[in-house]
């Protein structure tokens, strides 16, 4: 009788511990999966500086607009940028420490999306899957 009680208690303990461990593992795996899946849109972000040197960054994002993507990249340390708030929206004046302020430098940061000049500012330019985004240092002509 004593032995039976011991076996039942032991079995219960083993099963409870095993189930608890499996639960912890499953929860951890789910949260890891969620982290990996966050970012359903692939992008390539290229910065071409004054000297023509390119810095390419690739990644995944769920950002809706280009400004959201750039803020995300800034947070992750992938890019540094400064933008001025104007009536038409945000205007990028500095990327990775390189200023292209039209008034001061007679240059600007040209935004090219999928080989075409962007028609909207960073606040309204949507980010789509597999977008190829370029910020090109462009002197005024």
């Amino acid at each position: 009788m004593k032995n039976k009680k011991k076996i039942i208690v032991g079995l219960l303990l083993v099963v409870v511990i095993a189930l608890a461990m499996l639960f912890v593992k499953k929860q951890s795996d789910s949260s890891q999966k969620a982290k990996v899946e966050k970012g359903s849109k692939a992008y390539t972000f290229v910065v071409v500086n004054k000297d023509g040197k390119e810095k390419v960054t690739k990644g995944k994002t769920d950002a809706k607009y280009l400004k959201n993507l750039m803020d995300e990249m800034k947070k992750d340390g992938k890019i540094k940028y400064k933008a001025q708030k104007q009536s038409m929206g945000s205007f990028v004046v500095s990327v990775n420490g390189e200023r292209a302020d039209f008034a001061k430098d007679k240059a600007y940061w040209r935004i090219v999306v999928n080989k075409k000049d962007a028609q909207k500012g960073i606040d309204e330019q949507p980010v789509k899957n597999k977008d190829h985004i370029e910020f090109v240092y462009t002197p005024a002509q």
């Binding site: 011991k6 032991g10 079995l11 303990l13 095993a18 461990m21 499996l22 912890v24 951890s28």
Partner: protein
Amino acid sequence: MSKSNHKKTLQTKEIALLGMMTATLVVAKFAFQIIPNLELVTFLIIIFAYNFGYKVIFATFAFTFLQIFQWGFNTWVAMYIYIWPLLVIIVCLMRKWADIWFFTFLTIIWGFCFGAMCSVVYVFIGGINYAISWWITGITYDLMHGVFNGVVMLVLYYPVNNAVKIVAKQYNNC
């Protein structure tokens, strides 16, 4: 030599016994080294501790020391220094409940908790979050470890424990 000296120092027969236990542990570890987290060391330490008591802690230290020559010096050394002596202490404290079923469940739970016990070292290396994530990554192996330990205990308890009991009786009569 006075009686009190005998209590404080290891006797020759104890050193011989500890040597044999250490050698057995080393060989047992070697036998299953290909398969991760599957080992006979837990089983043997339990049987030795049950029959010979706290002195088995010395054998665990010697075993850990010899393993350095095989595996090199790494974080596992710190883990082995507290894990195996802890097992000896638990077995010695719980001797009165000892039987095949008690040891089977002890060894299963020991296997389940092995990763958690090892992760304590990583608290000091990478912080508590690192230690927890290290433990979680190895949970599947811990579960396998526990199940294997249980099977080994059920199969080998009677034959091995009976043999070690004979040795213990002869040792105590020396």
